[in-house]
């Protein structure tokens, strides 16, 4: 709470300047200018740059559809998966995408509960990022089924075969976890959007925009009764989303750790996965926030303080992930289990050693520059490191999936794996789909929560002295 007073009064501002961190909002904003600034991004004409930016992800999305069409036509053999590595790219991609989603919920729910006011300007697009990332993640298990048109067999429903899903299996837990996560994230996001949709309705210039936003805003008027119930509900939703986000990646890690495959069967997996998820998610937040604030001139709302804080979170979660790597290595030796020890050595110097060392460079070494304030305040450093972390986290999932499976126990059952061109088309295409959805989002909905930003304006608290 102590941070809110940074923006309050002009008189003691100078005195505080020496001690205070940079404020969470640029100076000189009032209710009108905040509303104008954020809403006009949606309401002015589409800039040419948007079409140019949208074109590339759109083409990649078409490539994804083509790759999926080909997969459906010829079957799962189009991918590189085989025995012993039956999981391959698809599961690595799934874990990577769902991990990216986690930062959105962390920002919108956990930081809300912790009264971190700086989250306000980044929570909306981080939540959108969550939804789109989870949507991309959900594609991969479905495609990986081989017969994706039977996906509904995963759900408990009355059927003529009188069969039920195996509720003792982590793979079924995963279905429930991911579907719940997507649904709750969607509800949370939509509830947060309602007051802003009403703002867009009331500012709409065309009949169609007025109708569309009017329909979506449900007739929101911002009455004191509404806000009272709304705030309670929003807070409880945040309270629910907090354990949910931790449970989701925990359940994802159970997909691995419940199996007896060496390199997977470990109790450190749940916290290791959750830390890794937040790590990669914050990297993606930075990757997206830096171009968005530049393109739409939002430097006064997404300030250097936001980027600085995100970099600190990257550093902290990066150290947690590093600890997990070290712990894995230590226990593979300390366990005295030759299979565990072999998997670790095989990761470091086996046929996939390049992947392992890319992981170490990107995830362990690269974020260490964030110990220095100069690196945290340099846009290009932030952007490049955030992309390196994204690459490193994908590599990490690849290493976990592939190196454990390709040589587990019996040398006679060992094999090698590599992704086919269709694997690459699918992962690159899914990045295209994700970015295309982000482009549509920044064009059609307010990227920053306008209603919440108004609470950061000086004098927004009624109780303050005039």
């Amino acid at each position: 709470m102590a941070r809110t007073d940074e923006v309050e009064t002009v008189e003691n501002k100078e005195a505080k300047d020496a001690l205070a961190q940079p404020p969470v909002i640029g100076p000189g904003y009032d209710f009108v200018s905040i509303t104008d600034k954020i809403a006009s991004i949606v309401q002015r004409g589409t800039p040419v740059g948007w079409y140019l930016g949208f074109a590339i992800p759109f083409i990649l999305t078409m490539m994804l559809l083509f790759a999926i069409g080909y997969l459906f036509a010829v079957g799962i053999g189009a991918w590189g998966v085989d025995i012993p590595v039956a999981w391959g790219f698809a599961i690595a991609n799934f874990v990577w995408w769902i991990g990216i989603g986690h930062a959105g919920t962390l920002i919108s729910a956990i930081l809300l509960l912790l009264h971190q006011k700086w989250r306000t300007s980044i929570n909306r697009f981080a939540e959108a990022m969550t939804l789109f990332a989870v949507a991309c993640a959900g594609l991969f298990p479905l495609l990986h089924m081989g017969r994706p048109w039977f996906f509904y067999w995963l759900l408990p429903y009355p059927n003529t075969m009188e069969l039920w899903p195996q509720f003792r299996s982590p793979l079924v837990w995963d279905v429930f976890a991911v579907l719940t996560y997507f649904t709750v994230s969607l509800v949370f996001w939509y509830i947060g959007l309602i007051p802003d949709l009403a703002t867009l309705r009331d500012r709409a210039k065309s009949k169609w925009a007025w109708r569309a936003y009017g329909f979506l805003s449900l007739g929101w008027r911002g009455s004191a009764d509404h806000w009272h119930h709304y705030e309670t509900a929003y807070l409880i939703l945040a309270g629910l989303a907090t354990p949910l986000v931790i449970s989701v990646h925990t359940v994802v890690s159970f997909d691995f750790s419940v199996a007896i495959v060496p390199g997977w069967h470990s109790t450190i997996f749940p916290p290791y996965f959750v830390a890794g998820a937040i790590y990669s998610g914050f990297a993606m937040v930075l990757t997206l926030a830096i171009p968005i604030r530049k393109a739409f001139g939002l430097q006064d709302f997404i300030t250097m303080r936001h980027l600085d804080n995100s970099a600190k979170i990257l550093l902290a979660t990066g150290l947690m992930v590093t600890y997990s790597y070290l712990s894995e290595a230590f226990f593979s030796w300390y366990s005295g289990n030759i299979f565990e020890a072999y998997v670790e050595l095989n990761r470091i110097r086996g046929p996939y050693w390049k992947m392992y060392w890319i992981l170490v460079i990107c995830d362990v070494i690269a974020p260490q520059v964030f110990w220095f304030k100069r690196a945290r305040n340099n846009i290009w450093t932030l952007f490049i490191i955030s992309i390196l972390v994204n690459v490193g986290m994908w590599t990490e999932r690849y290493v976990i999936v592939v190196t454990s499976l390709h040589r587990d126990y019996m040398p006679s059952a060992w094999g090698m794996y590599s992704g086919s061109v269709w694997d690459y088309a699918t992962i690159i295409g899914s990045i295209g789909l994700f970015l295309a959805l982000m482009f549509l989002f920044v064009r059609l909905l307010p990227t920053i929560s306008i209603a919440e930003m108004r609470t950061l304006v000086p004098g927004s608290k009624g109780s303050e002295a005039k």
């Binding site: 429930f176 004191a224 004098g459």
Partner: protein
């Protein structure tokens, strides 16, 4: 704008430029004994609900009910499937293997609570509500942007056009408008 039916007065609305004036006005009007008063703000103003919200509903209770339905329903669904209707004997292990039912029970608790709570909140607020007489006031579109409004309804037993208008004028509003319903 007025259609074939005759417009009738719904209330009086006053517009304020900042939350301080709004809070003072709300306090003044409520102290004067008005009960059918509502306030409209572009963001939640601290302390306003204590002055003006007369029917505070237990939103949290709806979350609890939804969570209980989701959690208990989820747990017994799994027990029914794995223990009663589709039992599989795996080396004599117990059919009622409740620890393995916990993850799904948790997920469905959260799902039930979130869906009940979110939709319950909308229902308590009477949303969706596409029409409200206030939408007839052109300046009311500022209520979701930058201005603060108070509405005193005709239904209020103390409502008396001239006296109420004078009272609102004392609270230094920017604009006072008649709100019509038809």
């Amino acid at each position: 704008m007025i259609g074939k039916r005759k417009a009738k007065l719904f209330g009086l609305s006053a517009e304020y430029a900042d939350p301080q004036h709004l809070l003072e006005a709300a306090r003044m009007i409520c102290d004067a004994g008005y009960t059918k008063v509502s306030a409209y703000t572009p963001y939640p103003v601290e302390g306003l609900a204590d002055i003006i919200v007369t029917k505070k509903r237990r939103v949290a209770a709806i979350f609890l009910i939804g969570g209980l339905i989701g959690g208990l329903g989820g747990f017994f669904m799994q027990y029914y499937a794995a223990g009663i209707t589709y039992p599989i004997n795996v080396a004599g292990r117990p059919l009622f293997s409740w620890p393995s039912f916990i993850p799904i029970t948790f997920e469905l608790t959260v799902l039930g609570a979130a869906l009940f709570g979110a939709f319950g909140m909308l229902a308590i607020n009477g949303l969706p509500q596409p029409y409200h007489p206030l939408f007839n006031v052109p300046r009311f579109s500022l209520a979701t942007q930058s201005r603060f409004f108070i509405l005193v309804e005709v239904k209020d037993p103390k409502f008396e056009y001239d006296a109420t208008r004078r009272l609102l004028e004392r609270s230094q509003p920017r604009v006072i408008s008649d709100v019509y319903d038809w």
